[in-house]
């Protein structure tokens, strides 16, 4: 019976991807997915880079040191609760934006002729790790608060920066003119924030 497992595993894999694709087709028909990412990028304002700065500010210990040194415990609790809400909200927004970048990427790479599978796999894996990290962080902040989660946030920010870099590299190959505009946009926002 054990010799059947590889065959049944492959059959199950085919069944699962078929069902997922059918679901995607059904949802796409029901609710047309918007793939025009540059417009969304502008509409939402701010980039992944400026979000990174905001994240650093949210998880910065400076405010906490000030509150914990001078204020009573009620204020400290209030600070931690509000900072947790802010941190979770920031993580959700960052996750959504990185998903948009990823969506833009998968649409853009369809036009590339010399597509590098290694780079694509690396990007997909990093994206998966990022999603898992974000969910883990949200749970962790909810349980332990933002102050104790600071170190893990550093890793998340590095992943975001890497994804942004990889995306810019690919965009440079697809559309150099737009990529320059995009990079300038990122830099300007970084200076402003």
């Amino acid at each position: 019976m054990s010799q059947l497992l590889p065959y049944l595993g492959v059959a199950l894999l085919l069944l699962v991807v078929s069902v997922l694709w059918a679901r995607q087709l059904f949802l796409a028909r029901k609710n047309r997915i918007e793939l025009i990412v540059p417009r969304k990028h502008q509409a939402t304002g701010g980039s992944v880079a400026s979000h990174g700065d905001l994240g650093e500010r949210i998880f910065d210990l400076e405010d906490w040191y000030f509150i914990s040194g001078n204020e009573p415990s009620e204020i400290q609790k209030l600070f931690l609760r509000e900072r947790s809400i802010l941190a979770i909200s920031w993580l959700r927004r960052t996750r959504r934006r990185v998903s948009l970048v990823m969506r833009a990427h998968v649409v853009a790479v369809q036009q590339i002729e010399d597509l590098q599978l290694a780079q694509e796999l690396k990007l997909a894996l990093s994206y998966l790790v990022f999603l898992i990290l974000c969910d883990f962080l949200i749970g962790w902040i909810w349980l332990r608060g933002p102050v104790r989660t600071r170190k893990i946030v550093g890793q998340t920010l590095r992943t975001v920066a890497w994804l942004r870099g990889a995306f810019e590299q690919l965009m440079a190959r697809v559309d150099p003119a737009n990529c320059n505009a995009l990079r300038t946009n990122f830099n300007h926002r970084g200076v402003r924030s």
Partner: protein, 256 residues
């Protein structure tokens, strides 16, 4: 009862194959999905030949069945090639890598089974063909899963024809892999019910193909572009109107 049902399935399949092929010529689909229709033609010819052999030389039917089953499974790769070609039509890089991968896998499977057949103690056409078919179908299932995953991951727009070919063939391959895997077990292979799984799944695939390949439905490859184009035109039109309004306002103000 099972034999009568099997015969009924056989005749229905032959009729459905002939109907889809005639329709493909009428709807001018044959050239667009050439590899797929070649596969369907080969399967129809195999079915007719099998029927002739069964009627004229019933004793030779069993070996003939296995040899032609190998052909059936081998030509199934034409459908996979067709799916890859149409699904990755606008992604030349991915298509090139996928084609090399596809031929490499087919070569490796044939080499492996040939080596097993030559080095094994007893060579039986039935067992070897059954093993080859099971392996070929399993590889086809893997390749189909890969192309469906690619389509889902890259949100590649697929037309009604391509969706039909993929879902129909996936249903058949899924049933084939499961039935051939269970059929290789000593207790299951001889049960008459298991022999009907593949024909029923194939008939289901033919029904899906019959309905989705009724008329030509291209892949909306440029859907995103056209949407951007459409949005751009819309925005440009609105901007033009706004500018013209502002100009007329300024003109009026200037005159006042």
């Amino acid at each position: 009862m099972v034999i009568v049902f099997g015969q009924f399935l056989w005749w229905t399949e032959i009729a459905a194959e002939a109907f889809i092929l005639v329709r493909s010529i009428n709807a001018k689909l044959y050239r667009r999905y050439l590899a797929f229709y070649i596969y369907l033609t080969v399967v129809l010819l195999i079915d007719l030949l099998r029927f002739s052999v069964l009627s004229l030389h019933a004793g030779a039917y069993a070996p003939f069945y296995w040899y032609t089953e190998f052909l059936h499974a081998g030509f199934g790769y034409a459908v996979i090639l067709e799916i890859y070609k149409h699904a990755l039509n606008n992604s030349q890089g991915v298509a090139r890598i996928a084609r090399a991968f596809l031929w490499g896998v087919l070569g490796a499977i044939i080499l492996k089974v040939s080596w097993n057949a030559v080095s094994g103690p007893v060579w039986s056409p039935g067992t070897t063909s059954a093993e080859l078919e099971r392996d070929l179908r399993t590889v086809q299932a893997l390749l189909l899963a890969a192309v469906i995953a690619l389509l889902a991951y890259y949100v590649v727009p697929a037309g009604r024809n391509l969706i039909g070919i993929i879902f129909g063939y996936s249903a058949y391959i899924y049933a084939s892999v499961v039935s051939l895997a269970f059929g290789s077990l000593p207790g299951y292979g001889l049960r008459p019910g298991w022999r009907l799984v593949q024909p029923i799944a194939y008939l289901a695939a033919l029904l899906i193909w019959g309905s989705t390949l009724w008329s030509y439905s291209p892949n909306s490859a440029a859907e995103t572009e056209s949407k951007i184009d459409h949005d751009y035109k819309l925005i440009a039109e609105r901007t033009r109107r706004a500018i013209s309004k502002a100009r007329s306002f300024l003109k009026m103000g200037g005159e006042l």
